[in-house]
Amino acid sequence: MGELYEKLTTDVRFIESLKACINCGTCTAICPAAEFYNYDPRKIAVAVQSKDDSQILELLKSETIWYCGECMSCKTRCPRGNAPGLLIMALRALSQDLGYFTDSEKGRQQLAIKRAIGDKILSHGYCINPESISPENHPEQGPVWKWEMEHIHEVMDRLGANYQGEGAGALRKIPEQDLEEIRNIFEVTGGLERFRKIEEFSKSKAAEMDIQFDETAQNDYFQMIYTKDNQTHTKE
């Protein structure tokens, strides 16, 4: 048993996810990601079950652990009660902890997610708010959302939301004392440490790739990881 495998065993999600895989492939059959990407959760369960650190290291650096959509359909159907989706979560956590996520195109996307969603939790108390979903970055949202964004205060008022307001209600401004508690929780529990690691490893990778990197969303590295697809991930 290797060091990486031992690290995985400290994650309760890993313990819950993998009892004894019988290699039947039911998870792959039901998996929406396996239908779209070059992805096979069965192979991941078998590789980790081997307890072989070289195979686990390969996974931590791979594209494949980033294909899962965490719908957890695999959990329902596995005849042994395993949950490859939870196993993926444990592998992703370790990949970020050790910095291997920057070795893959899909893994590098974690920086964009950290900035778009992680930082939003700390600044607003929500994972997303209307300003996160700009019509420019989200053309699929269509003309109604564009109209809504152009009249955001009036539309939210019409729909009974309390947009940026005091007191209870949808889209309210969360009081500063509550945000302070959330930030303290992130500091105490390792949430901020995860964020710092994502930033630092990404910055090093950008330097290694010689791509411009800064704190804004407009930098070349951010734009690359948010939009680029090397066309090798999906099935024919």
């Binding site: 108390g125 009974g160 529990t189």
Partner: protein
């Protein structure tokens, strides 16, 4: 009477849902896209059912999207959730309702984790106290908001002004129900009807006069996939999943789709628009889409609420064909007006998907 077969399975999956005095936690996604639904939920509970519902300004995101995009560690999420439970306790409540399916699944996962790994509960208590000075109790009853509407579906039916029935033919409408994956795929016993035969929306549809469409990809994910939608480069995954569902349901000619998840109604609505722009394909009749609703919107329509009070004007796939079929009155002039009747212009029409009446 001896209970056997499917009845036995059904009995096993009955869940206990509290009858009153709820602490309500809102959803990040829903408040952006369907604030009218959360408004309708509070209105139905308070005004129609006479229930006591506490709406706190102090709760935050449960971090669910951050957790399922893997940027937020489990320990952090557990402690943020513990803080929500602390707010519930502080307000004097013990029945917790989540508006969000991701939150509901996460609360369930966390409570189960605390049960199976008691050391994680102790650690969470330590973390929360150190960070905030707070203590907390685990809710006596945890429900998703759709569980509550399900529980009172017959009371709503008794007050109904409209039913899910074609006003011309008297036939039940054909309704697709779509359950958010995290409602019961991880913990089947925590959802009404389990994971394979979830009954939470079906029960509402049947009580309100509709007929459920049983189509092959009924349980397939809408395609949110967290990081698969959050990142522009990954959105092909998301739209492909929804497309698979539309292709599977379209031959049954459904009148409407009802969902119980924050993301699903938005994706099933928006991806119909995107697919029409990309492929010229629409999935309803004569260039229309299949209108998509939250369960609160449908409950509100059944109760006779104004469609624009419910927020149906912010759907990209217009709801009017369905309203016409049931015979629900609405004023098209008011669709895109503000709260005080001010003119806010109107959205552009899509290239293919029928949007304005000719």
């Amino acid at each position: 009477m001896k209970i056997e077969g499917k009845k036995l399975i059904w009995k096993e999956y009955q869940k206990e849902i509290a009858t009153d005095d709820y602490f309500y936690a809102r959803s990040c996604i829903r408040q952006n896209f369907f604030p009218g639904s959360e408004k309708a939920f509070t209105r139905i509970l308070k005004d129609e059912l006479g229930k006591n519902l506490y709406d706190s300004q102090h709760h935050t995101s449960c971090t669910g999207i951050g957790y399922h995009t893997d940027v937020v560690p489990f320990e952090t999420t557990m402690t943020v959730v513990a803080r929500q439970f602390s707010l519930m306790q502080e307000a004097g409540y013990s029945n917790y309702i989540a508006s969000c399916i991701t939150s509901f699944g996460l609360y369930t996962e966390i409570i189960e984790t605390w049960k199976h790994f008691p050391e994680t509960l102790e650690k969470t208590r330590e973390y929360l106290f150190k960070a905030t000075g707070r203590e907390f109790s685990i809710p006596n009853n945890l429900a998703h908001a759709s569980d509550i509407i399900y529980k009172f579906r017959n009371e709503i039916a008794a007050k109904a002004k409209f039913r899910l029935v074609d006003k011309e033919t008297g036939c039940p409408l054909k309704v697709v129900e779509h359950i958010g994956c995290h409602y019961s795929k991880m913990f089947p016993h925590k959802g009404v009807g389990g994971a394979e035969f979830p009954y939470v929306l079906t029960g509402m549809i049947e009580a309100w006069g509709g007929e459920v469409v049983d189509y092959p990809e009924r349980r397939h994910c809408c395609g949110f996939g967290f990081r698969q939608y959050a990142i522009q480069a990954n959105r092909g995954f998301s739209i492909s999943c929804s497309r698979k569902k539309f292709e599977s349901m379209a031959p049954y000619e459904p009148d409407m789709i009802i969902t119980n998840c924050p993301g699903c109604p938005m994706f099933l609505d928006r991806w119909q628009y995107a697919l029409s722009e990309m492929e010229g394909q629409t999935y309803g009749k004569n260039g229309n889409g299949i209108p998509v609703f939250t369960y609160e919107e449908v409950a509100g329509l059944v109760l006779g609420y104004d469609p624009w009070d419910l927020g149906l004007q912010v759907h990209q796939v217009p709801a009017e064909p369905l309203l016409d079929k049931i015979g629900i009155p609405y004023n098209p002039e008011n669709k895109f007006k503000g709260a005080n009747g001010e003119d806010l212009g109107q959205p552009d029409a899509p290239n293919f998907l029928k949007f304005y009446k000719e």
